[in-house]
Symmetry: D3
Subunit: 323 residues, 6 copies
């Protein structure tokens, strides 16, 4: 298999096609302009600075472009970095589709759709089932393309759907273990909890917060979506079913301090909060540990209180391929 | 003028008509039942225990009834209390309307309506004006009857409207002093900010949280009302006007910890938060100080971090009638 | 089936055998002594006061005794309570074994042992396997009898083992879902994490903290047990395996503030903390909700920030038998 | 009108007279010295770096000097910055007075004095009136020149008096709305609350904390000033009037955590705290928003928990001149 | 030696002269009045309730009176309590002086004065020496009579002076160990740090907060005393010596949250804070432990975060007389 | 006496032998490598950058080497720094032993040993005496060489022993002042409290956290050492003596948040916590103030909440040699 960006070691030279993810124009201390790039392929992202950039280069080397790069992997203040030897726009016959360079969910969209559809049969409450189907239908395309966050975890194409699927799997085993759990409520809550991201964020790639995202936030946005769905579907939005479902979404951040306007007041909403937290945490840990050598500590993980984690020398898990 | 409940001093006896606000049946240590009453007239509320209540008395002395009471004002663990000598249901020819015994806003409904209507002319933004008029119209009756809170401040009939009017007055002087302020936005936000209370609470008297109030909270409820109003009025709910107005409501508790899902991101929403806080604080302070003797401290005020406040001996304000 | 204590409704009379769980001698306001009892059968615990107790009754009605009681279920300040009509010590031919009245884990000891033993085969790391087997062997009897806590959750006979089994089940589904997880480490950590309770607490019934529990705490106690096990088994306690296992135990409270001397620095210890929290939370919620009527809120749950939870009218889960 | 520094857009060149507000000598990574300037005119302050400065230039280009600058406005890491082409000291016939380049209160000193004097007539309590007059008299010059803070808000010449006047205006409308308020006490408290700044800070321009400011703080300094004023005026400093006034000053930061040695224990001191907070907040918001484009967010505002605020595209306020 | 109140065990009867420390008139659930007493002799304080008190008894059994009591020591909800059999005012020939019943400092006033005077010779800074002498002289009588606190620690006659002496002893050993410490500054700070208590509190016995204490607090009161002392002594109160001394007092609570308007900014003020904390803590611990049986835990200690402390069975200290 | 590094003033040139404490290879903005050094002699540590380093120089100028340096002391962003003119490895006949350049405890090892041995005679509890002797014996060499911390305080050769001796001195004066204190327990706790540092840290020079230090922490490590010592010495580790001693060590950080798994529950462990804090604080303050000019403030001290402290112009202490 072709070597990717992160397959090269420090001090190793390479020539690669990479996608420009971002390109900031800055002024160096000597007064000349340079470009602070972030490059990307499916193995991950890496920064690189391009000194003494001409106005032409600044105009053409923009985010979304594919470039051919000769360079060397280096270490700069503890972080991987590309030292650029040569950079040029691709020519005819070379790769041009950004899609090829972007990390995506480890499951195929079709498989995720099927898994989701099977779950819908377990949502035996009529109101909940109709609302969930209506909204999934309405936002289907974006749901399978958007990331689950701007940074931190599942920040890749399809991340939102993958995060949802992953939570459903945990949710099902927990619901089977503790039989008192209301399955239709829990599964509906999991499916809808982050759907507001498709409005809070600007799109699947290089995503930013929209004005709506900034002023309302994805939690309230889902509540509005359910309100509108009830009007369209002629469901009484004061029925207990609907109030329970809205509460699942509104309280899923678990604490007021984390942005929920109400704390969980249902067994199922407390569980939803914990499952969300569990999947996000394990995903962040796996991602950081996969970039760490055995016997070393990870970099500080922002989403986990800036803590560092140790990767043991001995790996007793079945899949010993993280590094 | 006829003497009211709070016009009597400690150890003074009285015979009065009072409204039963609440009546809890409890079991005394000797195994017999007693009723823990809260009585009320327009001067305030006071507790009183009725020992060795018969099953008949328990069945008839219920909340909402008017009773004739012979008793004495006492002090019990620092709080005023009625020692009951005799209690009986009113007979023909005696007062029967609970309305006569309930504290209400110091402004008449008609005056509050007029003041509110005048403000509507200053809401020169078309979308905001239509939404505010639509919702006021829709909830007019409850808006002028509901309290602004279950306890703490403005917990009386008409309290919601009075709190709103009071905030509008402060809002106007501030908006005139700092001319950069967007008046239509600030005034719309003030009028709508607590409107959800008419759904969060169960009614104007002996109010409790509804299921909707418990699971969604009044902040999100207003957001839903605006969403629906836009649908009815065919206003684009993604227009900046609507997003700004929703944000005013969503952020008016100022901090996540106080139950807002987003912190204020507009000058006007930060100001709305401060005006709300100011009116609530002064109202709680005035209420506690009016029940305190000069030279003494108030009881601990729950809504103000359980602090106590001093009422000076010398009162240099124009209105020296608090005691 | 015979009716148990909690099968009776408020105001219903009964005659039952109950175990005295605790009996506090207090002085009433009239200067006479009374006994504040907590009674218990397998349906739960309930308080009851016995007025004007004689010195003989005080001497004989002590914790651990079985008594025959005529009484009535009442409600006292929102909590269930027994109004005592008659109480007497059991006679010959009546039940005498406290064991019959005590709540116990819903799984049989033999089944839990088998499930645990099967897990041991999945601990493929030799050092961890030997340490876990050694300690389980050593403390086997207490491990299957002790509760998992003095109050709050799993505070019943066999609670410690049941909590451990329950966590293992969740742990296995999570380890199967995220294949990077080191299974031997996670399972060893789950099995040993609370083992120190058998030394921190005084016994399976009416348990109190021991001096060792007070001064060292169960977290450090397990660390010492592993240290001694290594000496006995001649395992190098500076090997990475042992340090990882000790760290699992030491960090399993997740935060310094919750009593762990180090925060989790391993993926598996972060997960252990979350699984522990999840099982404890669901167990507390199920317990409180099982004593709550549909359409009502639970009492405040101490272990969950004193929050209250709602039990919906509509129960869409498969097991509709909670009430 | 002549163009000022902030009237130029990014990348626009200019030649301007500017005041040097500060000039730090630093060593570049190449070992040569450079000067990190902050320049200023009445439109605001902007940084600029002067590379390879000679010892002569370092000696002459010092804070307080007026310079003639050819340069270009740039953006450096999101902040405006001057790229210097040429810098020289002013010659004969060119502006030399720093006063001309300094931002000042939007009200004239005479107008502020008159407004203050009118307020004194409303301080009808004899002791308070005499103390306030005595101290205002004593510190009159500095009171109208000092800023209200080193940074954050009202950090300009005359800022202290302007902040005080602004608070008095709000205070008066609030005192008129809630008639129980003790006006003499509230107004005296507003006038004196920050007077200690004239001793805590070193002067009206380029102000720093004095040793007295560092070791005592402006809150305690005012308390001492009142103590001394009482001695001079032969007022009993144990009279209730004086204690109330001192308490207003001591508690005006509202919380212990914000540096008040006592929390407010008077209605008027709680209100003083809220008015102070309101004026400071609105002033900071207006200042940041005036430098923000419609449709954009402000930079992070340090004095407001580092939050960012949105400036709407539609400006419905009467004064649409902020940008 | 005569047996004192605390020399009697639970359930032991006694007849004793005791001082009435406080006497609250309350109404029992049966509507009759009773007196809730706190009695006191030099061994400590104990509560006792007097049921069905007549109006005559209420009028005569007031705080400050000496009474003869027949009663029995009991345990009420974990606290010691007197069950009253008989209570009467003392007759001619019986003890009448409250002084005889009050706990006092373990050192004689003369010895404390001498120890303090010796320390004054070590305050070699002229300004500090004059200020300390002036204030000690001025408040000498109260300084040796007042307690150091209303509750918690050193709450006895002479407690203020004893706490000061105790801190001076620790201060001297620390100043000798770390020779960089400025002794005159540290010793002056220790002597003056709590002097404001003589104004904050109402007197040596049954002390309450004065209005001055409530509105200003003892920390600011000392600052005012130093300000006035400088005026009397014609010492420049802007000299560094005076600012340092004032800062010692102002910052001695160590944190803003604990009521200091400034945090320590001198080595000596940081040390003053730690010594104050050390002496208060050890004094509270000794007091609680002296009332605890070996092998038991103390009651919760309010001044130490409500923690409980263990009193070991084995006492290896030289003085084994605590119990 | 020969001039040391910190004896030179800013802008003064020098030629000195210095030890390379650390040497980070970094890439400058121009793409070339440079070495960021920290140099050290017994007067302290100072940074210096070496530009355009060749690969040979990078290979030879490594930590632990002694170098001869021509340079100049400068000030860089408020911190002292060396501007390097020339740097070379020492030749034959020049100093080569790192020992000569390292700061060490101000007491000689022999004197510390003697002082410690004398203290052992005061540990009259047999179990404690044996455990302390056993562990001191076992770790004697490291105990007198290791620092007490990686940074902050006593971060020098012999720092651990010196910090211990210093605490013992304070502990003895306090134990003599409050005679209830259990001396054997307090002294044993002081001696052992930080002994785990010899395992938590990697060595006396350029120390780092070991894996054991990271995963267990020095507090738990000492607990394990005591556990093993008991096994070797055949002391019952469930005896009260041992539990008390372990508790001293486990609780000596005073709060859960500071890393203790239990809060102090003994008078002596609360005191141990305060003494530890006192010695660390005074040591940090003395160190920072010794590098500060009179009339100036220190740099921010990380270990003291990033506060700054003032060094007065007038120094009234006996030892006026800090600057």
């Amino acid at each position: 298999m072709e070597k990717k960006l992160y397959d090269y070691s420090v001090d190793e030279s390479f020539e690669l096609y990479l996608l420009i993810k971002s390109a900031d124009i800055r002024v160096a201390k000597n007064g000349k302009k340079f470009i602070a790039f972030t490059f990307q392929d499916t193995s991950g992202q890496m920064d690189g600075k391009f000194w003494d950039a001409s106005e032409d280069e600044i105009a053409s080397l923009t985010p979304g472009k594919i470039v051919n790069i000769s360079g060397k992997r280096e270490l700069y203040q503890g972080n991987p970095q590309i030292k650029l030897f040569k950079i040029r726009i691709t020519k005819a016959g070379e790769p041009t589709s950004p899609e090829l360079f972007i990390e995506r969910a480890p499951l195929k969209k079709e498989d995720m759709m099927e898994e989701l559809n099977e779950t819908l049969f377990e949502i035996t409450n009529a109101n909940m089932n109709r609302i969930v189907r209506y909204l999934l239908n309405h936002y289907q395309k974006d749901f399978f393309q958007y990331p689950a966050a701007k940074r931190f975890h599942h920040a890749f194409v399809g991340g939102l759907a993958f995060h949802t699927i992953s939570m459903l799997r945990i949710g099902k085993t927990i619901a089977n273990q503790y039989e008192e759990i209301n399955k239709p409520l829990l599964y509906s809550g999991i499916i809808l909890h982050d759907l507001g991201k498709v409005i809070e964020l600007s799109g699947p790639i290089s995503t930013e917060y929209t004005l709506e995202g900034n002023l309302l936030g994805h939690i309230v946005i889902v509540d509005e979506l359910i309100t509108k769905a009830c009007l369209s579907l002629k469901i009484d939005d004061k029925s207990e079913d609907v109030l329970l479902l809205k509460h699942m979404v509104l309280s899923h951040h678990g604490k007021l301090d984390y942005g929920s306007p109400v704390r969980p007041k249902l067994r199922e909403s407390e569980i939803l909060f914990m499952i969300d937290n569990l999947d996000a945490t394990v995903t962040m840990l796996n991602s950081s540990l996969s970039r760490t050598e055995p016997g070393e500590f990870t970099e500080r993980i922002f989403g986990l209180d800036n803590r560092i984690f140790y990767k043991p020398l001995s790996q007793d898990n079945e899949k010993n391929i993280e590094d």
